[in-house]
């Protein structure tokens, strides 16, 4: 049985880490990171079987790929809190000579990262390759990938979306961070995603819905998703989140997609989030 209170406490700490990372370097993407904190905490602390003694090949463990690499602050925080590297290293985010690059990279050898991402639309394809390798190797663990919603405007996503059902890549769970926002405004204003559920379904995916800011719902839906793997179809979870979730003035707007808080804003934001696991 999941300890929801503890997972929520970790997520609160992760939110503090996100704000402090982006504030310290005065850059980065806090909005989407805050929105996905609950999902990534649930994934790494409850759902996935994984080993912080990181091995690139990920044999006999679940693998996660972050396609919308700009929400690196949340991933770095979760990886650090899950013992992939010291939490103190979060203070190096986006600084010279850091392993915590602006967008996730393997180049500096940061444990937990298997491929660079940031240029959008590429993560699903890489995840499919890893999922196919697992099938070839008789490894029954799963491959997870998170993609943004604005990212779905990239054509490569739909190449991958067509491929996975055709090749019965049924050990793959794609989650779409459906916060409805992107840099220039709402998805609806920039380039409408239309009937998102219908699109995935007609491509041949099993589609589930999830509240990405409710850890109990995340655990419930991810369990359902897991139960539906191995049945010939890849799984897509449309995860509703709120950009900036957990910080009142960052919610309900796309303004905090790629903007760091100043000193005053940081203090205000941190006052809304209890230090549950110790700041780095």
């Amino acid at each position: 049985m999941a300890d929801i209170d503890n997972l929520n406490a970790i997520a609160t700490q992760v939110r503090r880490d996100i704000l402090r990372q982006t504030h310290a370097c005065q850059s980065g993407h806090p909005g989407g990171s805050l929105g996905c904190a609950d999902f990534l905490v649930a994934l790494y602390f409850e759902i996935m079987k994984h080993d912080p003694a990181f091995q690139m090949k990920g044999e006999h463990e679940d693998m996660f790929f972050l396609s919308n690499g700009h929400i690196s602050p949340v991933w770095y925080s979760v990886l650090a809190r899950a013992n992939y590297f010291p939490v103190a290293e979060l203070s190096t985010f986006r600084r010279l000579n850091s392993r915590l690059q602006g967008h996730p990279a393997t180049h500096e050898g940061l444990p937990g990262i298997r491929v660079a991402s940031g240029s959008l639309g590429q993560g699903m394809s890489v995840a499919i390759g890893a999922a196919l390798a697992k099938k070839m190797n008789g490894d029954d663990r799963l491959v997870y990938v998170l993609t943004g919603d604005g990212e779905l405007q990239e054509g490569q996503v739909w190449e991958a979306a067509m491929f996975a059902p055709h090749h019965k890549v049924d050990n793959l769970i794609v989650t779409v961070d459906w916060n409805g926002q992107q840099i220039d405004g709402s998805n609806e204003d920039v380039l409408s995603l239309g009937d998102l559920e219908g699109k995935w379904k007609t491509f041949g995916w099993t589609v589930l819905h999830m509240d990405g800011n409710d850890i109990s719902d995340i655990i419930r839906v991810m369990a359902e998703a897991k139960a539906q793997t191995g049945q010939g179809k890849p799984i897509c979870i449309l995860m509703k989140t709120e950009m900036g979730y957990g910080v009142d003035f960052m919610m309900g707007t796309h303004a905090w997609h790629g903007k760091a808080p100043n000193d005053e804003q940081l203090a205000n934001a941190l006052s809304q989030l209890e230090e549950t696991k110790g700041d780095y």
Binding site: T106, V126, I128, Q156, F163
Partner: protein, 320 residues
């Protein structure tokens, strides 16, 4: 040393046929080799590999960006993916995917690209990529190989499996003379075809055969040619180039590629640092191709045997 006078165009085979043979062999030798193709199995001569190892072949469909990503995912899982399509779609179309998911991420992917250059022929300029060597050699960590005949392509297709790192292997469509000695290919090692003291000729890909014919003619005229095949554009065999140019004092490069960014540029970088000397380029000069027969196109765009001969004489004259 090879006797270039003994080399003839009697035996012909397309470099892509050599690739297909090499892929089959390396597939038998190495269970980690995975073939991927974007709807061009026949053109890339992959049938024998697929027949041997259907479980290790992935048909991606006409979706090259996805193919590069899948290849990266297979590679990080320990597989050795051979991602195969036409050179135009294997590079320019998917450059960002290669750059981020493969090159920057250090993935052991082999991009195998056929139908490069003008000799693709009738399909015309949309498919005749002449910029691929430049694009691929600029990516940090990439090895770039442009074999000159079917035998060399076969050996390269086998050798790249044992090379740990991303590789761009570029070959072509037409039936072409086959002349390289068996067992002569080694990644990064130029092959000397003739020893001489007047002019260095460095050729890559299909142009190597023309360089041999040009050298034969130049030698008949009493010009001593130091002829090398540079199949590996990166890493470049700098020692072979410096040794040769230090001796001859002038250079001709020949390639089926844009002058900008090709073998000639790489050679120019090396000699400008170590042994400055006049260099004449036999390459496409800032132009797209067009439909036509391979030999017609090579002639029209300045890539003929006569162009190499004239360039050698010009280089000699500039040397003074």
């Amino acid at each position: 040393m090879i006797d270039i006078n003994s080399l003839s165009a009697d035996q012909k085979k397309a470099t892509r046929d050599g690739f297909g043979e090499g892929l089959q062999i390396v597939g038998q030798q190495n269970p980690d080799v995975i073939g991927l193709c974007a709807d061009l199995i026949g053109s890339l001569k992959m049938q024998a590999f697929i027949k041997d190892s259907p479980e290790r072949f992935i048909q991606v469909g006409i979706a090259e960006a996805n193919m590069m990503g899948i290849a990266a995912g297979l590679a990080l899982s320990g597989k050795i993916p051979y991602a195969c399509t036409f050179a135009n779609f294997a590079t320019g179309r998917v450059y960002d995917q290669i750059r981020q998911s493969i090159a920057y991420s250090h993935k052991n992917v082999k991009i195998c690209a056929s139908h490069a250059g003008l000799t693709l022929g009738e399909d015309g300029a949309t498919h005749q990529i002449l910029e691929d060597l430049g694009m691929m050699k600029m990516l940090p960590g990439f090895t770039v190989i442009n074999p000159c005949d079917a035998q060399q392509t076969k050996e390269a297709a086998i050798a790249i499996a044992d090379h740990d790192g991303p590789v761009y292997l570029r070959f072509g469509r037409p039936s072409w003379p086959m002349f390289t000695p068996e067992g002569s290919f080694q990644i990064g090692k130029a092959i000397q075809f003739n020893e001489g003291s007047d002019v260095s000729i460095f050729a890559t890909g299909h142009m190597m055969w023309y360089a041999i014919e040009a050298s034969k003619a130049l030698i008949k005229e009493g010009i001593s040619v130091d002829l090398h095949n540079i199949h590996t554009i990166k890493p470049l065999d700098e020692t072979a180039i410096i040794d040769s140019v230090s001796k001859t004092g002038c250079v001709v490069t020949a390639e089926e590629h844009q002058m900008n960014g090709g073998l000639g540029d790489s050679v120019a970088q090396v000699i400008s640092q170590h042994c400055p000397a006049p260099l004449e380029y036999v390459a496409v000069n800032d132009s797209f191709g067009e439909s036509g027969k391979p030999d017609q196109l090579l002639a029209k765009y300045g890539l003929s045997v006569d162009n190499i001969i004239a360039s050698a004489k010009k280089a000699l004259k500039r040397k003074g």
